[in-house]
Amino acid sequence: MNNSTLLDLRGVSKTFGTTTALSPMDLEIERGSFVSIVGPSGCGKSTLFNVLSGLLRPDDGTITLEGNNVIGATGHVGYMLQKDLLVPWRTVLGNITLGARLKGKVTPENRELATGFAEKYGLGEFLNHYPSALSGGMRQRVALMRTLATNHQLLLLDEPFGALDAQTRFEMQQWLLQVWRDTERTVLFITHDVDEAVFLSDRVLVMSPRPGRVVDDLRVDLPRPRTLDTLVSPAFTELKARVLHQLHRERAV
């Protein structure tokens, strides 16, 4: 483990009854990196996030975040679940500051930070809106802002764009990259979509079907900032092919 390692998993495993959701897994994540996890449905991706966030206790292994053992603890990562989970009775601002409210009082600093995020990332006009007035993409932005506003270095994003149409999705991907670059966070990103994984990431982890384990770990050295051109470059296609190949090889076994 070197200095730039943010997160370090050693032999982390999890079974549900007779189902092995995660077979012993080792994983190191570098501070500031964007890492995607792809894998077939039910291979244990969400289980991995639940273990990392402290919602589930692993059967075995150690998890070290910024040098601290975090097994069994909560409140140390920003976790955005598949659904946006905005609460309808709080405004956009109220939703972004929900994390602070859940820990105690919303301070003027919390509000200022939230307002700053919102204004910077295209939500400034909607601060006073209720979620019901927002489009799907907007809602996801608010949900991500809420995750950011908790000020945790590590963000776990579980298929955040899964429900969006292709057009919105691409806008959101670029938007996410901008946020990530500006805020210098570390992102673990689950997706079904191989294009999305390669487009966004520094690293793509491919997981096998049950029992879940990492079968491939690809570096993505495509230049940043990434644009539409990235999507049609030969290097992109090559990486994508490799990920797809891995996925299908695993599926054929």
Partner: protein, 270 residues
């Protein structure tokens, strides 16, 4: 709300009431219905206004019984809903008991209540509360049991303690349900008060006034008191709807009112 919608919302109900009264009037007039069977609408109103000095204190009592009983029932109902939802054992122990309370005819409740509490306001308050608490409990329980599980998971991820989770997420999430229970309760409240008055009154009461009017074949008096009872019920229901309107702005507005906590004035962006 647009102006047109506003007009429809205000004049719709007025129109339907006017139509109803016209139908009532025509049936009485053209059907040659004797005044001791059913009065003309105006006669019913006149019976109220000309006897108002007698009716006013009775109406005031009925309002008091309704309001006190309703508030007590709503508080008790919400409290029980929370207890039931938070303590699973209670759900098994208490729930059958609560259903039992509703299976007991109110009539059977009255005499012991009168023995314990006398003939004043209290037994009526208890009867109203008895009727009102149940739909509130059921709706709160339902609301709390159906809070999105993922939302609770999220609270855990944020590291919230159970009390904060309850106050910040579960309570507001159950508010819509709570109001549906409160509205059902509001429609029953006056009925409860009237049943209570029939079951036990000292001196006079709106219910007794109506009984006497009925016995005297004073149909205008009977319908007139019905109008008063109905008016109390409608006004109370509308008050509850009004509170809901103010308490749940997100259900009909796209933005919060400016003065709401956490809101910030929207600046024109350029």
């Amino acid at each position: 709300m647009t102006k047109k919608k506003l007009l429809v919302n205000i004049f719709g109900p007025i129109l339907s009431v006017v139509v109803l009264i016209s139908i009532w009037q025509s049936i009485v007039v053209w059907g040659h219905i004797a005044s001791y069977i059913a009065p003309k609408p105006l006669d019913a109103v006149r019976s109220v206004t000309s006897n108002w000095s007698t009716l006013a204190p009775l109406t005031w009592w009925t309002i008091k019984e309704t309001v006190y009983g309703y508030l007590a029932g709503a508080l008790l109902g919400a409290f029980l809903g929370v207890i039931l939802s938070k303590i699973p054992l209670m759900q098994r122990v208490l729930y059958p008991l609560l259903i039992l309370t509703q299976a007991i005819p109110i009539i059977a409740l009255a005499p012991p209540l009168v023995m314990i509490l006398g003939f004043g306001v209290m037994p009526k308050v208890v009867i109203v509360a008895w009727i009102v608490f149940f739909p509130v409990t059921v709706s709160v329980l339902d609301g709390l049991n159906h809070v999105d599980k993922d939302l609770l998971t999220l609270a855990k991820v944020f590291g919230a303690n159970p009390l904060r989770r309850f106050v910040v997420l579960e309570m507001p999430a159950a508010v819509t349900q709570l109001f549906s229970g409160l509205k059902i309760g509001a429609t029953y409240a006056v009925t409860g008060a009237i049943i209570g008055e029939l079951a036990a009154s000292s001196g006079s009461s709106l219910a007794l006034y109506q009984r006497s009017a009925s016995g005297a074949l004073d149909a205008a008096g009977v319908y007139g008191t019905t109008l008063i009872m109905t008016a109390i019920g409608i006004v109370w229901f509308l008050l509850v709807v009004g509170v809901e309107f103010l308490a749940t702005p997100w259900q009909r507005r796209s933005t919060a009112r400016r003065w709401r906590r956490g809101a910030k004035p929207v600046l024109p962006n350029n």
